[in-house]
C-alpha cells in the first residue's frame, strides 16, 4: 500500500473510538473525504518521502478521535447575525473540535417550518462543521399549537425542541410526544417550570439570599423533568433532557432509566465547572445563564451522573450574545454563554484530570452518544465513513483569551481560565478546517 494513494494521512496518533472500544496507536488514511483505512501500516519511508508534507499529520503524542458532536448550539441565524452566523458558529465549532453541531430553533423567525430548515441547511453547506437542525415543537415556540413536525423532519430536522422555553402545557407535551413517535425523533426538553422559576436570574440558594437576587429554585427544573419523564413513560415517546443542572433532576433521570423509560440527558461544561458562588464576586453577566449555575452539591451529583451513565452527553449550549446586551446590570442581561471553544478543555481539566472520567468515557459523551440519540451519521471512525476527525493535544496547557474566540460573541465566563487539553486539528470531510 502506498501513502501517496491517499489525500491525507494521520500518523502515529493514539486513536480512540469509543463506539467500537478501540484505543491504540494507529495511522488513519483518508481518501476522497472518507476514512479509507485505520492501521499501523505506515508504508515505507521511501514512499512517504514522495508525498508533500502537508498531506501527512504527525499525531505523535496526540489523540485522534471521531469528530466531536455538540447537540445543543445556538447559531443565531436567521435573525441575530450580529451575535453569530452559521459560518462563524461553525468556525467556533471547528476551533472547539466539533465537526457536527445541532442548532436550536429559537431564532428569528423560529425554525418551525420547512423553509427555515432549508435556509439553515443551505447556509451550512459552506460552513466548517456539519449542521443538523432541531425544529420547534410548537409554532413560534409559543407553546400553543404543534408545528408541522412532519414537514420539519422531511426537510432534515433531527429532533424537536422549544429550547429556551419549557412546553408548559402538559397536554400539549403529551400530544407532541405521541406525534413525534411517527418520525422516531426525540423531543429535547428545556425543563423549567416557569411559574416556579418566576423570572429568577440565578440559582435560588444561600447565594441568591446573600445577593438579594431573584432565585430560580432547583425544584423548577425537577418538577419539569419529572413531568416529562412520566409523559415519556405514558406515551412511549423519547425525551432528551437538555442542560440538566440539579441533583434532583439527575436522580430523577437515573430512576427513570432504571425503570426502562426512554429518556436521555445532557449536561453543559458550565454546569459541572461553576457554582453560584461565582456570581457575587464580580456580577459577571456571562454567568447569567439558564438554567443557572447551581451549588457545589449539584455539581458533584451531575458529575456522578456522568460517571454512572445517567447523563449521556456533554453539550455546550453555546449561546452567543452581543456585548452591548451583556454589558449591563446583572439581572438585565439575557441568559446564555458561549461554550463551543472551551468545552473540550473543561472536560479535560474538570473531569479527566480529576480522575472522574477516562478519555474514552468522556469522548463517548461527545461523539457516539449524541450520534445515537439523534441518529446522526458520525461519531465513530469506521472505514468508509466521512472523515470527520478531531486531533487533541491532550496535555497542552492554554489560557482562554477573549481575543482568541472565533465566535462572533465573547460572552464566556471562562476568560482567563487556564485549561489543559487543546484541539490540534479538526478535520471535516477529509479537509483540515482548524489547525492550532
Amino acid at each position: 500500500m502506498k501513502i501517496s494513494e491517499f489525500d491525507l494521512v494521520i500518523k502515529n496518533g493514539l486513536v480512540i473510538d469509543p463506539a467500537i472500544g478501540f484505543g491504540n496507536e494507529a495511522d488513519i488514511f483518508i481518501k476522497e473525504g472518507k476514512i479509507a483505512r485505520v492501521g499501523k501500516d505506515g508504508g515505507s519511508k521511501k514512499d512517504s518521502a514522495n508525498i508533500p508534507p502537508d498531506k501527512i499529520i504527525d499525531a505523535s503524542g496526540k489523540l485522534v478521535v471521531p469528530g466531536l458532536i455538540d447537540m445543543h448550539v445556538h447559531l443565531r441565524e436567521p435573525g441575530r447575525e450580529d451575535e453569530e452566523t452559521i459560518i462563524t458558529g461553525c468556525q467556533a465549532a471547528a476551533a472547539g473540535g466539533f465537526t457536527s453541531v445541532c442548532c436550536m430553533p429559537n431564532t428569528t423567525p423560529t425554525i418551525d417550518n420547512q423553509e427555515t430548515v432549508k435556509f439553515v441547511l443551505s447556509r451550512a453547506e459552506m460552513a466548517d462543521a456539519n449542521v443538523y437542525v432541531v425544529g420547534a415543537i410548537t409554532k413560534g415556540i409559543k407553546g400553543e399549537e404543534l408545528a408541522e413536525i412532519g414537514d420539519l423532519v422531511n426537510a432534515g430536522a433531527v429532533a424537536i425542541s422549544d429550547d429556551g422555553n419549557y412546553l408548559q402545557n402538559p397536554e400539549l407535551m403529551r400530544r407532541a410526544l405521541e406525534y413525534a413517535q411517527m418520525f422516531n425523533i426525540p423531543i429535547i426538553s428545556h425543563a423549567e417550570d416557569r411559574f416556579l422559576s418566576a423570572s429568577g436570574v440565578m440559582n435560588e440558594s444561600y447565594q441568591s439570599t446573600r445577593l438579594g437576587l431573584k432565585g430560580s429554585p432547583a425544584v423548577a427544573e425537577e418538577i419539569a423533568v419529572l413531568r416529562d419523564i412520566r409523559l415519556c413513560a405514558f406515551t412511549g415517546g423519547r425525551v432528551h433532557i437538555a442542560h440538566i443542572s440539579t441533583a434532583g433532576a439527575v436522580r430523577a433521570v437515573r430512576l427513570a432509566k432504571a425503570e426502562g423509560i426512554n429518556v436521555t440527558a445532557e449536561v453543559t461544561p458550565h454546569h459541572f465547572s461553576l457554582t453560584d458562588e461565582e456570581i457575587g464576586k464580580e456580577f459577571n453577566t456571562s454567568l447569567r445563564v439558564n438554567p443557572p449555575v447551581r451549588t457545589q452539591k449539584d455539581v458533584e451529583t451531575v458529575i456522578e451522573g456522568l460517571l454512572d451513565g445517567t447523563i449521556d452527553c456533554i453539550s455546550s449550549d453555546h449561546a452567543p450574545h452581543a456585548e452591548e446586551e451583556k454589558d449591563v446590570e446583572f439581572d438585565q442581561a439575557p441568559p446564555g454563554l458561549i461554550g463551543l471553544e472551551t468545552t473540550l478543555g473543561l472536560v479535560k481539566t474538570k473531569l479527566i484530570d480529576r480522575g472522574y472520567l477516562s478519555w474514552a468515557d468522556a469522548l463517548s459523551k461527545m461523539t457516539i452518544n449524541p450520534a445515537r440519540i439523534l441518529k446522526l451519521p458520525g461519531g465513530t471512525l469506521e472505514i468508509g465513513k466521512k472523515a470527520d476527525i478531531t486531533i487533541i493535544d491532550p496535555e497542552k496547557k492554554w489560557t482562554v483569551r477573549r481575543e482568541n474566540f472565533r465566535s462572533k460573541s465573547k460572552n464566556s465566563p471562562f476568560i482567563g481560565w487556564k485549561l489543559s487539553g487543546r484541539i490540534g486539528f479538526t478535520i471535516l470531510n477529509g479537509r483540515v478546517v482548524y489547525r492550532a
Partner: protein
Amino acid sequence: MQLKSRHLLGLEGMSEEEITLILDTAESFREIIERPIKKVPTLRGITVINLFYEPSTRTRISFELAEKRLSADSISFTPATSSVKKGETLKDTVRNIEAMKIDMVVVRHSSTGVPYFLTQCIQSNVINAGDGSHEHPTQALLDMFTIRRKYGRLKDLRVVLVGDIKHSRVVRSNIWGLKAMGASVAVCGPTTLLPVEVEKFEVDVYQNMDKAIEGADVVNIMRIQLERQQAGLFPSQREYTNLFGMTRERLALLNKNYTIMHPGPMNRGVEITNEVADGDASVILEQVTNGQAVRMAVLYLLSGKKAEEE
C-alpha cells in the same frame, strides 16, 4: 486607620475597626448639624452626583444635605425611567456623567451589583445608596449609630429585624454590620418572606413574632410593601398585622430600655401601630437626623481615598 476600600458598596466583609471608624467619625459630624451654621468647608471643590434610578425621598435628601453640609458641589440625577429602556445603557450614562469630572457617585438602583458595576467603568468613589435587594450600607450604619448612641455599644445587644426579610436590602446590610460589631441578631417574618437558607447568615430565624422579640433590646421593623400581598406572599394586611405587627401589647415582651426602629417610610397600622411609632422608645426620627451625620462621615472618609492610591 483608614477604610480599606475607596468605595462603600456594602457592609459584607467590613471589619469592626472600619465600622467603628465610620461611627466615631459620624459622632463628630453629629455635632456639626446642631450648630447655628451647619456647614464645614471640608469637601470644597469635590463634586458629587446622586444617581437615583429608583425613587427615594429620604435617602436622596439625606445625601444631598450631607454633601451640602460638607460644602461639596452636588447634583442629583433621577432618570424617570431606566436608561436601558431609553436606549442608553447604564454604562454610557455613567461614563457621560464622569466626563463631567465628577469625584464621587452616590447610586441607587433596582439591580443588585450596580454599584460594583460602576466601580468597573469609572474612576470616581462610589457609594451604594441601595442596590436591588442586596445592600443599603448607609442605612445600616445609621441604624447602628443610633443604637450605639443610646446604649454606648453594639456588642451583645439583641437586635431583631422584622418583616420582609427576603426583599430587604436594609436587613442584609444590618445583618452584616451588626454581626461584625458583635451584636446578637435575629430575623422574623412570614415564611414566604424569609429567603432560602437564611440561617446561613448565622442569625436566629423566627416565624413567630412573640418568640422573636422576647428579651430583645432593639426591634427594627421593615416596611411591608403592598405588592408582596398581590404577589401572594401573604394573604392580607389584616393577617400580617395580627401576626407580625408591632403593637403596644407586644412591647411588654421586650427588655427594659428597649428601642423601636423603622427605616421608613412607615405603613402605620400595618407593620407598626401609631402608639409604638410615636412612643417614647421610638427613635425613628433620630434615625433620620443621624443619617446625615453617618453619610457625612462616609463622604468624608471616602473623599480621602483617591483612585491612584490603590
